[in-house]
């Protein structure tokens, strides 16, 4: 494969295809993943090429999808489950937190659970209720699960393959607002970083700005805007939410002394709470200001006409950056 310019949707589709080519045990399952190729077309063309036994349209029941995928994993398959929208993962929550997460522990490692649960997440697409949720903390709080979020096409391509290759169950979050937004150059001769690592995406010296999934783009814009005012912001794409990869974060905060984290999920008990608590535990004497959090408000997701007021945006992130710098 030569290098090519791809969207996130394309990267995920290519990653899935590659994983299915590499390992015949990889199965795809979900609602409308077959002929339709999924409502976001992430599984486009896969059923045609891999058949109905490997790309499985399921009855309309999320607990059933995840629960049967558990059984298939027990039989040696590597199911990649698609949840159609973030807000529809909850009927499967019991199977995910009580079964998927615990089977390896329960069985003392006798039974592996190599499952990937793909969830398009986040808002900003003008949708009706339940289509714009950010459920990551509800999974990251559960031991036994690993949780990652991709933010760009190249990561989409690699991280999905890495998640499928992992013998641990992975909740794989895809920022749906980005699916068809920006293209990036994929050169698959460049080996990817390991899956469970964070990445500094822009170096800086004055403040550490943490983001993942859909907010990475906002964070980058904020850093650029701040740069025009002479403020040097370091941006880190967390990529992995459980486990957290605190190394790069702590390194950065030790240098900058200030941190802001932004995500679309509710602030209260969102990832920001954990990251802030850990930074404070580890960098107490380095901090010049408390870690500030910019997230969705502690309200249900609002009607889409005011969703941009609800979501953390450039201005709110910059406001927090200023508050931190002025603290």
């Amino acid at each position: 494969m030569a290098t090519q310019k791809i969207t996130l949707a394309k990267g995920l589709n290519m990653g899935l295809r590659k994983a299915m080519e590499d390992d015949p045990k990889v199965l795809v399952m979900g609602e409308d993943v077959g002929r339709l190729g999924g409502v976001f077309r992430i599984t486009d063309g896969l059923q045609k090429d891999f058949g109905e036994d490997r790309v499985i349209d399921s009855p309309l029941a999320e607990s059933g999808i995840v629960g049967t995928a558990v059984g298939m994993a027990m039989r040696g398959y590597r199911p990649v489950v698609e949840i159609q929208f973030d807000g529809f993962v909850y009927p499967a929550y019991d199977q995910i937190v009580c079964q998927v997460a615990k089977i390896h522990f329960r069985s003392k490692g006798n039974t592996k659970m190599p499952m990937v649960i793909r969830i398009p997440f986040g808002g900003g697409i003008g949708a009706v209720e339940h289509h714009s949720e950010s459920p990551e903390a509800q999974f990251a709080h559960t031991p036994g699960l690993k949780v990652v979020a991709c933010s760009n096409p190249v990561d989409g391509y690699w991280m999905l393959q890495q998640a499928i290759a992992s013998d641990d169950p992975v909740i794989f979050l895809e920022p749906k607002r980005q699916y068809h937004a920006d293209k990036a150059e994929l050169d698959d001769s460049i080996a990817p970083e390991p899956l469970f690592t964070s990445r500094v995406v822009k170096a800086g010296t004055d403040l550490t700005l943490l983001a993942y999934g859909p907010t990475v783009k906002t964070a980058m814009k904020a850093a650029e805007a701040a740069a025009t005012e002479g403020k040097s912001i370091e941006v880190i794409d967390l990529r992995t939410l459980s486990p957290l990869d605190m190394g790069p974060v702590l390194d950065s905060v030790r240098r900058t002394g200030r941190a802001v984290i932004t995500h679309e999920a509710h602030v209260n008990l969102g990832m920001g709470a954990e990251v802030a608590a850990r930074i404070t535990e580890q960098c107490f004497y380095n901090l010049e200001a408390p870690v500030l959090r910019v997230g969705g408000f502690d309200t249900p997701y609002p009607p889409s006409r005011i969703e941009e007021d609800y979501l953390p945006d450039l201005d709110r992130v910059l406001d927090a950056v200023d508050r931190s710098l002025e603290f």
Binding site: L36, V39, D53, D57, L60, P300, P303
Partner: protein, 383 residues
């Protein structure tokens, strides 16, 4: 190894008449507009009732057409079309009494119409200005439910509440009440729907489960959800199931009326499978050419729910051009009202984000709200 190996031959299971609903289909008006009779569910209709059904269906279809067009013009974020399902919805909606209560999905625009919900209020949800602005208490018509099947449990619980209020089986027709729970063929696979069946059977709750089998759950055909006719699901739970021609407003009305009456009398739940077809896309964002044949759609066009009533009315001299014109004018007026009304729907005040999260707002959320207000105020000053 092909998928087909894993399932019985579906034609075999359903019989060759599958596409037409099979012999169990209750029908009172054929696609050609001929009145047929049914041993169990037959009833008489006055000319006025028939004209009423016709008018309801025409206006409902107009709501649908307008909303679809509004979406195309960017005025709605999305729209869930009901094209083809007018008879199922009007038949069910008109069978209700005021004291009955409706739990809809996101597609029950025709039922909403029957209950007197302003169609503009429906547009608000799809435009993204609110999550459904109508007050359920005004018309005993619940909010649209988007999580598939969740409302079926609410309906069952509501019906259990009616039992406790003593409005079931009293013999007083003004008092006795029942609930109708709408859902789709796809939804029938959700745990919640099946648990709804179990609770309703266990408590003998006065609820009618009204499933519009429109043959599709987005791209998945009904065969993915069940390998036997869906109405038979009820048998396994110990209450009756009926398959009615969902494109026949008379039959749907008659069957729903009977089931509601049973429920009101304290005889418990019924499952109605309204056998119909989703003529449009799943929603305006869907592209059904990716997964279904236009021949199928053509086949179902011949069963149009409005055309058959119109044919019957005309053949029997029950309508004149004046009536048909009046309905057309009404539809046009409705169209104008929706177009203009939709565009005029005000965007919500951003501060509304914080309203109604709770009945009693906690101090911490009030602080968040006030900080938001201050931030916005400061922002506007600065610009």
């Amino acid at each position: 190894m092909s998928q087909a190996e894993f399932g019985p031959d579906l034609v075999e299971v359903f019989g060759p008449s599958q596409q037409d609903g099979g012999p169990e289909l209750v029908q009172l008006l054929t696609p050609e507009g001929e009145r047929v009779h049914h041993a169990e569910f037959d009833m008489d209709f006055s000319a006025e009732e028939l004209r009423g059904f016709y008018r309801d269906m025409v206006l409902t279809r107009r709501i649908d057409t307008e909303a679809t067009a509004l979406q195309r013009h960017g005025e709605l974020g999305i729209w869930a079309q009901l094209l083809g399902q007018e008879a199922a919805q009007i038949g069910a909606g008109r069978a209700l009494r005021p004291q009955d209560y409706v739990f809809p999905t996101y597609r029950e625009h025709g039922v909403a119409w029957c209950r007197g919900v302003d169609p503009l209020d429906l547009l608000g949800l799809f435009r993204g200005v609110d999550h459904g602005r109508w007050n359920p208490a005004d018309n005993n018509f619940g909010q649209y439910t988007i999580v598939i099947g969740a409302q079926v449990l609410h309906a069952t619980g509501y019906a259990m509440g009616m039992q406790r209020d003593g409005v079931v089986g009293t013999g007083d027709p003004e008092r006795d009440a029942a609930v109708i729970a709408h859902f789709g063929d796809g939804a029938s696979s959700q745990g919640d729907v099946n648990e709804g069946f179990i609770f309703a059977a266990s408590y003998n709750a006065p609820v009618v489960f009204f499933c519009q089998n429109n043959q599709w759950a987005i791209s998945e055909p009904i065969e993915r959800q069940t390998r036997i006719p869906l109405y038979q699901r009820a048998l396994g739970f110990g209450f009756p199931g009926v398959r009615v021609d969902g494109n026949d407003v008379l039959a749907t009305y008659a069957v729903t009326k009977a089931a509601l009456q049973r429920a009101r009398e304290g005889q418990g739940p019924t499952l109605i499978e309204a056998y119909t077809y989703r003529m449009g896309a799943h929603t305006t964002t869907d592209d059904p050419t990716r997964y279904r044949l236009s021949a199928d759609v053509e086949h179902w066009k011949l069963k149009d729910p409005i055309a058959r009533v119109e044919a019957y009315l005309k053949r029997n001299g029950l309508v004149d051009d004046g009536f048909l014109d009046t309905v057309k004018v009404e539809a046009d007026e409705l169209g104008v009202r929706l177009r203009e009304g939709c565009k005029a729907l005000p965007d919500p005040d951003p501060h509304a984000i914080f309203d109604f999260v709770y009945d009693e707002i906690p101090a911490e959320l009030a602080e968040q709200r006030d900080a938001f207000a201050a931030y916005h105020a400061g922002f506007e000053e600065a610009h």
